[in-house]
């Protein structure tokens, strides 16, 4: 079971990471566009459409990846104080009453939305003769489906946790605040911090 869960995690992660290349493309595209506009006097009409598409695809496709890494923002007032079983029970309830209806609705609605766009071969409503928009709209149901898949895995995780009393493991990923990496970056070792501690404790009696 754990293998299957990790496999789905991996798929979500892979998809999210693959689409995160959009940010690099977006950066280079816009930088070139601005340069081209001012220095070469050669703006391109479809540039804005392309920007929108890269941005929208980036964050939609990263939804499942973010869920797999447990990085969606939580109100962490009480959650951190709960025992794992309580956490799992609450999560499970909300996955079923909030997550599933919401994401299923999104996927289903997105499917018809995209299908209509495909049917008329919709193109940009921003630029005349702009790029086709139906692939971009297809992102909604696809992202929804991946999210749903990942959500089911999370529900299974909750059930496992309810049974075992502890959360099944996840694979590590790059962290926003990775203390060890940051320590390495500024060449601070744990010993240094320990030494500093001695400084504080020695100072206290003198005060």
């Amino acid at each position: 079971m754990q293998k299957l869960l990790l496999l789905v995690d991996k798929i979500s992660t892979w998809v999210g990471q693959a689409f995160s290349i959009c940010i690099v493309i977006l950066t280079l595209h816009v930088s070139w566009e601005v340069f081209s506009r001012y220095a070469l006097d050669n703006p391109r009409a479809w540039a804005f459409d392309f920007m929108i598409m890269m941005y929208g695809t980036l964050f939609m496709m990263a939804g499942a990846y973010t869920l797999a890494k447990n990085s969606h923002v939580r109100g962490d007032v009480l959650y951190g104080f709960f025992r794992p079983r309580t956490q799992a029970a609450l999560d499970l309830t909300l996955y079923i009453i909030a997550f599933l209806p919401g994401v299923i609705a999104l996927t289903y609605a997105g499917y018809y939305y995209a299908a209509e766009s495909w049917a008329i071969r919709e193109s940009s409503n921003i630029t005349a003769g702009g790029p086709p928009y139906y692939p971009f709209k297809t992102v909604i149901p696809v992202a929804g489906a991946f999210l749903l898949l990942q959500g089911i895995v999370e529900i299974i995780r909750c059930i496992i946790c309810l049974k075992q009393g502890e959360w099944p493991s996840r694979e590590a990923d790059v962290q926003e605040v990775d203390v060890d990496k940051l320590k390495e970056m500024v060449h601070v070792k744990d010993e240094d911090i320990q030494k500093l501690d001695a400084l504080i404790t020695s100072r206290r009696p003198g005060k």
């Binding site: 999210g16 940010i23 920007m51 939609m60 990263a62 990085s71 939580r74 709960f82 909300l94 605040v177």
Partner: protein, 678 residues
């Protein structure tokens, strides 16, 4: 046991809310579609209560909003026409989602995030901190002042509060403790400084607010600029006063720690002349004294004069802009040099030739750091006609209009002040200062130019926020590449290795940096933007049910004055800042406040600035102050959380003071936007 008590308190609160919901829900006619308007409105408020409970429980907020939003939207439609309800709900949901996907304001979010992650990984923070610390060595409480400045610059460029606080906890806290600073004070300075990043533009918070409130992000940036620097200035002022008042809590640095080791060239020249500029000038013109290469000396000399050259360039541009229709070919370059030669000082003589040759030099220096076209475009004209030998000829091609506006008096005043300042500065410019300045040049200025370039191009209107963000991200990439290359260069030594291997290793490291930044950007922007997706449908439900109308009627029935309303609103936001993150507060709760603003004649722009300032406190207020926990994570075990909290209190007080100041003098925030966007 304390934890348990908090838990019970939380549960009790939730239970009260849930019971109220259960009692007040109009169960009897919930599903058969016969609900009166009042029922619906009550339902809207109940939904809000439910959401608050769900958020407090700790389920990912985006999905809570989505699920509840879909359900309550369906309820609202169902009460009107049950046959169409499902179809309408799905339609409105997907349209709201698509609105987020194609939002031209929100594009800037991933780009600014990307820029931040790249800049963070350029690993320049220790250089930045050490050079600033040396530069401020004479100021009382210098380490704390340097901490605030480093935080302000670095947090502004990266916007990642956790990383900034952690890094400063590793760098500045040991330095301050070793220097004998008070633990509480050191912790306070780090945490308060680290949070400046969400206020000083380019901040993601302001983009999110702009998207929610429909306020121009450009104006928000222009508006937040002065309050942001005002807050940083207040922090610094407080530190300096405090250091004067209680020097034993912040002892000044020992003389030995202020000294910078001089390179051999400077040491040799320093024996001849204490003033760096004069010494360099003599070495340059004199008969090959001290046996140093003239090229090196010339390089140092230009570096030493760089600030003056940049000022000359800025004044020149200002002159050209203020007297826009140009005919008379007099230029600021000439004016400046003339003014400077008049000064009787020896070193000023050196400025005449370089003043003229050097102007293009300064421009090169600027664009070398890959800044957006803010400067570049303005200065395209002079190089275009670069074959001309003297600058006054250079501007001639641009001149077409017959009349040139008279030069305003303030320009001459600024000129005079600049000349006086620089005369004093160069008189006291010794070799130590030259060395410190060189260090600042490699750490502080690239970042400052990056930020100012991004902001400048937005505010002046050369680029949309999204475009400027993209160029900023590109600049971050260049910055990371440059600093990593320099690091490898210094590590391997100048001539020992072939440059190929070094470039290869830099490229490989840069690959890792880009990859990590890319993944983090994807995750963080997904977090923010999915919250928008969820809140979109939630806000729809709230509006459809008429909850918004009830809130409005209720608030209006209180018959408050604008001041009272403002205080109430800020107080609520302050309270919300304890348990919630700023993303949730702005995305979920701002839409409830914004429609109320017109009733009280409050400018949403101004309100946004107040909110941004207010949310600074959210990171510092005790129960869930993120900044404190990040700092605790890297501080020595004997630094307690209580000490950190106690240290943050005075800085929170300053934040409140800043809030009051901004409220009493709205011009602090509204002046810049009104200048730029009349």
């Amino acid at each position: 046991m304390r934890v348990r008590k908090e838990l019970w308190f939380g549960f009790a609160l939730m239970a009260v809310i849930l019971v109220t919901v259960l009692v007040l829900t109009p169960w009897s006619n919930l599903f058969d579609g016969h609900m009166s308007k009042e029922d619906l409105g009550v339902l809207g408020l109940l939904m809000l209560a439910l959401i608050v409970v769900a958020i407090m429980i700790g389920f990912p907020t985006a999905f809570t909003l989505m699920g509840m939003g879909v359900f309550f939207t369906w309820l609202a439609y169902n009460s009107v026409n049950p046959d169409l309800a499902v179809r309408q709900t799905l339609d409105v949901f997907v349209l709201r989602t698509y609105w987020v996907m194609s939002n031209d304001v929100l594009i800037a979010i991933p780009l600014f995030l990307f820029m931040g992650y790249l800049v963070e990984r350029a690993q320049l923070i220790d250089r930045l901190f050490h050079s600033l610390h040396l530069a401020t060595a004479r100021v009382p409480g210098s380490l704390a002042v340097a901490t605030i400045v480093t935080c302000a610059i670095f947090a502004t460029a990266t916007g990642i509060i956790g990383a900034v606080v952690t890094l400063m906890g590793l760098l500045a806290l040991p330095a301050m403790l070793k220097a004998g600073y008070d633990v509480k004070f050191a912790a306070g300075a780090i945490t308060a400084g680290g949070c400046l990043g969400i206020l000083i533009p380019p901040s993601v918070l302001l983009i999110v607010y702009g998207a929610v409130a429909g306020v121009s992000v450009v104006q928000l940036y222009a508006g937040a600029f002065l309050p942001g620097f005002m807050l940083a200035g207040l922090y610094i002022g407080y530190i300096i006063l405090f250091a004067k008042w209680k020097p034993h809590l912040m002892p000044p640095l020992a003389e030995s720690e202020r000294l910078v080791p001089l390179p051999p060239l400077s040491q040799r020249l320093a024996q001849q002349n204490r003033n760096a500029v004069a010494g360099l000038w003599r070495a340059l013109t004199g008969p090959g004294s001290a046996g140093v290469a003239k090229r090196t000396v010339l390089g140092q000399f230009i570096v030493a004069l760089l600030p003056a050259l940049i000022i000359v360039a800025i004044l020149g541009v200002t002159y050209l802009v203020t007297t826009a229709p140009e005919k008379v070919a007099s230029t600021a370059g000439l004016v400046q040099t003339g003014g400077l030669t008049a000064a009787p000082l020896l070193e000023e003589e050196g400025k005449e030739p370089t003043g003229l040759i050097g102007a293009p030099e300064a421009e090169q220096e600027d664009s070398g750091v890959k800044e957006p076209p803010a400067e570049g475009v303005k200065e395209v004209a002079p190089p275009a006609a670069a074959e001309a030998a003297k600058p006054e000829v250079v501007e001639k091609p641009a001149a077409a209009e017959p009349e040139r506006l008279p030069t305003p008096t303030w320009f001459w005043i600024v000129c005079g002040v600049a000349i006086a300042l620089y005369a004093v500065r160069y008189r006291r410019f010794d070799w130590q200062r030259l060395e410190i300045f060189k260090r600042l040049l490699t750490s502080f200025f690239p970042l400052a130019i990056l930020i100012l370039g991004v902001l400048g191009s937005i505010v002046v209107g050369l680029a949309t926020p999204a475009e400027a963000a993209a160029i900023g991200a590109f600049g971050g990439l260049v910055l990371a590449a440059a600093y990593r290359f320099i690091a490898h260069w210094q590590a391997t030594g100048l001539n020992r290795r072939s440059p190929g291997a070094m470039i290869w290793r830099t490229t490989k490291e840069l690959g890792t940096i880009v990859k990590e930044s890319m993944f983090l950007t994807a995750k963080t922007s997904a977090m923010v933007c999915w919250l928008f997706v969820g809140s979109g449908i939630f806000a729809t439900a709230f509006a459809l049910l008429g909850g918004q109308a009830i809130v409005e009627r209720w608030v209006l029935s209180l018959d408050m004055t604008p001041v009272q309303f403002m205080i109430l609103a800020q107080f609520i936001i302050f309270i919300l800042g304890w348990p919630l993150e700023w993303t949730e507060i702005i995305i979920i709760f701002m839409p409830i406040f914004i429609p109320l603003l017109p009733h009280f004649h409050i400018d949403p722009l101004f309100f946004g600035l107040l909110v941004a300032l207010n949310l600074q406190t959210a990171f510092l207020s005790p129960p869930v102050a993120m900044a404190a926990f990040y700092l605790k994570g890297v501080s020595p075990p004997h630094v307690t959380l209580n000490q950190i909290f106690a240290g943050m209190m005075p800085f929170m007080g300053i934040q409140l003071l800043a809030l009051v100041l901004l409220y009493v003098f709205p011009q602090i925030g509204l002046w810049l936007p009104s200048v730029f966007y009349k």
